[in-house]
């Protein structure tokens, strides 16, 4: 089956090319068939490849397929080579499988849109880029995918381009992630000069021999890569683009800004974990960034009005968990949470999209409500997604993935009590904002009439995703009960096992605390939003509370800081220099010359007497000088 590897990215690429070239000429049905079909076949190929990969593991646990040599200069010879191991297998499975479901959903969701083919072209192109990103054998090819997903994200955020706000959000996303990408590019330069190659395996194998643990260059490289990851994965301090990115259609948010692209940073760090392990400082930074992000984003999610912005902040926060896990060395836990998160967050976005469409593009949760009986399928699937997001103990898959991270954040070698406290309070807030979202959207009285209900094309993906959001967690059970480790065993050849710290810790207590905190968060939101809503209004009348509320609503003021410190000064400088100060220097030279010639031409009076006098005076002067010298 290994010779089919190239088909996996090629199919979406062909789909995208077809749609770009002739998409405008085709009727919508054919567009949908090409767009959805390419991804679906690709997903089937992934399943086949995955089956053969698992049933008869290839030598060394990896498949490679070289397509062609990209270029060859001096000793630099990047190839277009696809590389499959269990880590990339997990990723391509999530990308194509969830991708296919989201494409099916989009066929229904976008049915009324006039730019149907453009949408599917961009989506297919995105899946292609994302697959290249995770299948790349060298960092340069990875970078190609990395930038490619950025482009598609830009195109899709600004998909409804008539509105200026959408265009602004799209550019913001592209430029902020570009800042991270640029840092990452510098990281690649260092890697190239240190190792003479950008091949991932080559680097990972020779890094421990070349760099001592804790060396400055390892730290610098790891931090640069981290900057790239933080940009793409919307982590501090580059997280501000993601909430605005919700301007795109809901399937886009589900696929790009929840399930796949934003987890590219997680993939990068997991892939390059050897470099991070060589630098404890950088690894600590990863954990701290993760913990801080999950904490900050959680509070912001608690105050948002727009249902999609809640989900956006929640995504930032959940990726924070993944970074935290990576930072403490719990790689498989991070990847596990990535997979589970992809299921439930895609589900939540799709369901939210269904709600929004049913309510005539109403985004504000405060104008929703009472949808429990009107949209039963959406309600139940959304509920399952919320349970998973809130990590409802035992029955939701989110519990199993997040519990691992909570435990490791203390118990693993790189763990720390402070990280654990942050993660735990994050779990508390997560439960609270999830419940708040659920109650505001589905309970209470109806505030907006619903338009048309979602069709089969939209509900089937919801049900499938709900199934996975509920049960996917059972492939990896905690050590103390079940000790079923299918997932981490799969990843074991690629990612090292998590090393536990010195101190003895009892996992039961941690699970109990986590469960309690989750239930506490749920009941808090239940109390304020369902039982006693007027208490909240009383609280909101106090000034201090409102200030904090607005502070969180604005995402801790990051946008404002960046705006005043960076954006405005640069734009101001650019605008006052529009006419190019250097050009003004040349203009000054020309006007100086012009002034001089006007002065000289004044002496050409046309009067013959004047010239003769000039002649004589000149002659006398010369003679005098001659005589005097």
């Amino acid at each position: 089956m290994d010779n089919l590897l190239w088909l996996i990215p090629a199919l979406p690429l062909v789909g995208a090319m077809l749609l770009i070239l002739i998409g405008n000429l085709l009727p919508k049905t054919y567009v949908a068939i090409i767009g959805v079909g390419s991804i679906t076949i690709s997903a089937i190929v992934v399943l086949l490849t995955g089956y053969s990969f698992l049933s008869s593991p290839p030598e060394g646990g990896q498949l490679t397929q070289t397509l062609w040599v990209w270029f060859e200069v001096a000793n630099f010879k990047p190839e277009i080579t696809l590389y499959l191991d269990s880590l990339s297998l997990v990723f391509i499975f999530v990308i194509t499988f969830i991708g296919a479901l989201i494409h099916i959903y989009s066929a229904g969701f976008m049915a009324e849109d006039k730019d149907y083919s453009r949408f599917f072209a961009c989506m297919n192109l995105f899946v292609f880029s994302m697959l290249i990103l995770v299948l790349a054998d060298n960092l340069l090819l990875l970078y190609l995918g990395w930038e490619g997903v950025g482009l598609c994200s830009y195109l899709l955020i600004g998909f409804w381009h008539e509105s200026h706000a959408n265009g602004y959000a799209a550019r913001k996303a592209f430029i902020i992630t570009r800042i991270g990408d640029t840092a990452m590019a510098i990281g690649l330069f260092i890697l190239f000069y240190q190792f003479g190659t950008l091949s991932i395996n080559g680097i990972l194998q020779s890094a421990p021999n070349l760099w001592p643990v804790g060396s400055a260059i390892a730290t610098a490289t790891a931090l640069l890569l981290l900057a790239g990851g933080a940009g793409k994965s919307a982590q501090l301090p580059l997280q501000t683009w993601l909430p605005d990115a919700m301007a795109g259609p809901s399937p886009v948010s589900a696929l790009i800004h929840a399930a796949t692209m934003v987890t590219a940073g997680v993939y990068l760090i997991a892939r390059m974990h050897v470099i991070f392990e060589l630098s404890p400082a950088a690894q600590m930074t990863v954990a701290v960034i993760g913990a801080a992000t999950l904490f900050i984003a959680g509070f912001s999610a608690l105050t948002q009005h727009d249902i999609k912005r809640v989900l956006a902040y929640s995504t930032i926060s959940q990726i924070g968990y993944m970074f935290l896990a990576l930072g403490v060395g719990a790689y498989s836990a991070a990847i596990f949470h990535f997979m589970i998160h992809a299921f439930f967050k895609a589900l939540l976005f799709l369901a939210a999209g269904a709600v929004i469409e049913a309510l005539h593009h109403e985004h504000s949760m405060f104008r929703m409500g009472g949808l429990k009986d009107k949209l039963p399928v959406v309600f139940w699937t959304f509920l399952i997604g919320c349970a998973s997001l809130a990590a409802l103990p035992l029955i939701s898959s989110g519990f199993y993935s997040k519990d691992q991270i909570l435990w490791y954040s203390w118990a693993a070698e790189g763990g720390d009590a402070i990280l654990w406290v942050l993660a735990l309070s994050g779990a508390f807030i997560t439960a609270a904002y999830t419940t708040r979202m659920m109650i505001l959207t589905f309970w209470g009285e109806s505030k907006t009439e619903i338009g048309h209900k979602p069709g089969k094309l939209m509900t089937i993906p919801l049900v499938v995703l709900a199934f996975f959001a509920l049960f996917a967690g059972f492939i990896e059970l905690p050590h103390n009960f079940g000790h079923f480790t299918l997932f981490s065993d799969l990843l074991h050849p690629v990612l090292p096992e998590t090393r536990l710290g010195e101190s003895e810790t009892n996992e039961w207590i941690f699970q109990l605390v986590a469960a309690t905190v989750t239930l506490g968060g749920i009941s808090l939101a239940y109390y304020f939003y369902y039982k006693q809503p007027q208490r909240l209004s009383n609280l909101r009348s106090s000034g201090a509370f409102n200030r904090i509320y607005d502070f969180w609503l604005s995402g801790w003021g990051f946008d404002k800081i960046y705006d005043t410190l960076i954006v405005k000064p640069v734009v101001y400088l650019a605008n006052i220099n529009r006419r190019d100060i250097i050009d003004q220097i040349y203009n000054a030279i020309t006007s100086g010359t012009t002034a001089l010639y006007r002065l000289l031409s004044f002496t050409q009076s046309g009067s013959l007497r004047w010239y003769v006098m000039g002649l004589i005076v000149g002659a006398i002067l010369i003679l005098t000088i001659q005589i005097m010298l």
Partner: protein, 102 residues
């Protein structure tokens, strides 16, 4: 023939030359200015002849012939131009003819 000292002739040439310059500068009428220029030319010619005689070289006289020829050519062209100027402007006053200013 009494030998006249070269210095005296040079002095005469200088006086003539200065007279010519003064004529060019103070006269208003172009014809008089042209005449003054002629005087200057002849002053220079006189100086050449004197210098030729002083060193017993023919060059000075050759130069004088040149100057003579040139002066004749110059006067003919100059007078023709003056004629044209008079036709155009009905005046030969140099202070009124100042069109060619920058």
């Amino acid at each position: 023939m009494n030998a006249i000292s070269t210095n005296m002739v040079m002095l005469l040439a200088a006086i003539l030359f200065i007279l010519g310059i003064a004529g060019v500068v103070v006269r208003k009428n172009i014809i008089f200015m042209l005449l003054s220029v002629e005087i200057m030319l002849n002053a220079a010619g006189l100086a050449f002849v004197a210098a030729g005689a002083r060193w017993a070289q023919a060059d000075g006289q050759v130069m004088f012939i040149f100057i003579l020829a040139m002066a004749a050519a110059e006067v003919s062209v100059g007078l023709a131009l003056i004629l044209q100027v008079y036709h155009q402007h009905k005046s030969l006053d140099i202070d009124k003819l100042r069109e060619m200013n920058g």
